[in-house]
Amino acid sequence: MEKQNSIIEINHVSFKYKGSTEGLLTDVNLSFHQGETVLLWGASGCGKTTILRLINGLIPHYYSGDLEGEVIVDGKNVRETELFNLAGIVGTVFQNPRSQFFSVDTDGEIVFGPENIGLPPEEISKRKDTVVSEMKIERLLNRSLFELSGGEKQKIACASVSALLPEIVLLDEPSSNLDWNAISDLRESIRKWKEEGKTILISEHRLWYVKDLVDRVLYLSEGEVKKEWNGEGFRNLSETEVAELKLRPTSLEEKYIDAFTDDMGQITSKHISEKEGAKSEDSSTRSADKEEKVILSEFCFSYDKKRSRRKLSKCIKDGNKEVCEGLQLCIPNLVLPEGKVIGVIGRNGTGKSTFLRCVCGLEKRCPGSITVSGKTYSGKDRLKLTYMVMQDVNHQLFTDSVKAEVMLSMEKEDEKRCDEILDRLGLLPFKEKHPMALSGGQKQRVAIASAIAAGAKLLLFDEPTSGLDYAHMKQVGDMLRNLAKTGSTILVSTHDPELLALCCDEVIHIESGKLVR
């Protein structure tokens, strides 16, 4: 009887990717029932993604390797089924919203799948209309995908999968790049699929948003299923049990989100300039002792090119109350403690990234200046004082070895200092390696090493922990703490409440380009 119900069968599967020596999966046996929602849970590299790829056929048809055993999906043996024949049965939402689009416009993306499998045009239009109204994405239609926020892109990705009406939906860490609101939308999409009776497999590090939806949870480690709970049992896990498994807590994020949403409700009535005044007074009285400060002033910016640097600066000096109207960023004054880790939070597309870009001097039209230890930096000098570790660190590694990367940042090449810096970040063993051959976390540290070598005092991090599991997130947190101890001031923009709880001394909250906390 159970055999009849199961839609996915994984029998004695072992797999390793081409070129790697260790087996990634060893003798895995799993079966999933029709209509079941299952969470795959475990640290990075535990084989979650590999299992999803076995089911959607990317293994062995796209990623090659040694595959033993068989995978049966909806009565078809995946190994013998061509990928396009699986397309109408299995739909996949991937991690990175940027790279899962084929079209450049939203409409084309939603109908892309149905067009591929050769449905008649009338049927495709009908499906498109249904999906659009069900997911409430009317306002996203007829837009360029490159203009959408991460959350909006992920919604289109879900719609595009939905339009193929798959029996099985796989989600591979879909929330990694999303803020809390976008995650709630994602949860709604999953809930809708569940109501429609689809079989859903989610691989995820963040647990809070799926925990009410799942019927079964599989814990993977070293390519094997180590533990299994039913939905009820999983929801009743205590925090200590979760911590023992080195995984992200199931409830922490929710607490934060509640706290922040309340906060957002309150601030609307207050005038921003009062809030500003209160903020700087508040923080100066609180830390009136010998502590040094980093003062940011006149951080205003508009994408409108007519609002030049001088004009913005004059507006602020005149105390013009209307100055914040229509600006993408308006932070006239902000005092931060030196040598601390400061979290920057806020929704996607609300000005966090703009703020960081202005602080590090990438936006020339921003009049802002930074005062550290009595010295004021503005304009191009900001570039020297600060360094931003980007979300995609691949963009900022230019040379062919870790050593060269660090040396490039030094004004005078000094190998001894280079070794010191590398040692501090635990990178000394990789000194001669090519930066692109390192893991994500190591690359991040190489970027930091070059920032330190350049003498940056203010380090900015843009979403350093998106897509990381608990252990790696904790590493980043510890590293930020250590950097702060050695005197750097750190601004870290994040959606990750656990990181905030772990390492941030202070949190500033940006909403529509303004400071609210």
Partner: protein, 233 residues
């Protein structure tokens, strides 16, 4: 006014312009035909409200024309003039094709393009490859922007005065991220059935409108006049 041209018309325009561009204009009349032909995509860009690029093209092309006809002659000498002659020669000769191609890429949606390819019975393999190229332009632009920012932060925008380094620092991260994105993109596309052996359909109904026919006739005439005057006139 809005003119939505059929992708097939656009492709035909590219074809004609490329052919004309490869034949040198020898008489003032032929120059006139050529300039007239170049104005068409520029006007179309204006109609599509792509003012910035239209004006930029107009200025570059106009400047090169003015320089060629009024300031440079065969007797000009000197290094600067030589560079200028080279520059103007290239711009005057090939810019028309570039403007037309730019217009087509900027105003064609990928699904329109795919649909047009199907109507012309181009094999899916070729159509998909071309579509991916179109999809990649904005991605490269995005990635390049991020890399330029990173270089600014490191203060290596000018590669320490070494031109080769300047190119290297830009190209290496760009190649890496494009390869990664391309890989993920293909995986995502094939899980949604791309490359199957069924005939792909399209919800876009392409039809040649009056404007398409007029433009095709116009460009056919341009080509005919140019060839006739140059080789038989």
């Amino acid at each position: 006014m809005h003119i939505a041209l059929d992708p097939r018309t656009k492709l035909y325009m590219i074809l004609v312009v490329s052919m004309v561009v490869l034949m040198t204009a020898t008489t003032p009349f032929l120059w006139g035909v050529r300039i007239f032909m170049t104005m068409v995509p520029i006007i179309l860009l204006f109609i599509e409200k792509k003012y910035a690029s239209a004006i930029r093209f107009l200025i570059f092309y106009g400047l090169a024309l003015v320089l060629t006809f009024f300031f440079l002659s065969e007797e000009s000498s000197g290094i600067l003039t030589a560079i200028l002659i080279g520059y103007c020669g290239i711009v005057v000769q090939f810019m028309p094709a570039m403007i037309t191609a730019w217009y087509c890429v900027r105003t064609t949606k990928i699904d329109e393009f795919m649909s047009a390819m199907q109507k012309m019975h181009v094999p899916d393999g070729i159509a998909i490859s071309l579509a991916v190229v179109m999809r990649f332009f904005p991605t490269i632009k995005e990635e390049y922007g991020a890399i330029r920012d990173a270089m600014k932060m490191r203060g290596i925008s000018f590669g320490d005065g070494n031109a080769l380094k300047m190119v290297e620092y830009r190209m290496i991260p760009l190649l890496f991220s494009c390869v990664n994105i391309g890989d993920e993109l293909s995986a995502a596309a094939i899980t949604r059935g791309l490359g199957g052996n069924v005939k792909r359909t399209s919800i876009i109904e392409l039809k040649l409108h009056l404007w398409d026919i007029l433009l095709m006739m116009l460009f056919t005439m341009v080509l005919a006049v140019f060839v006739y005057c140059k080789y038989f006139g």
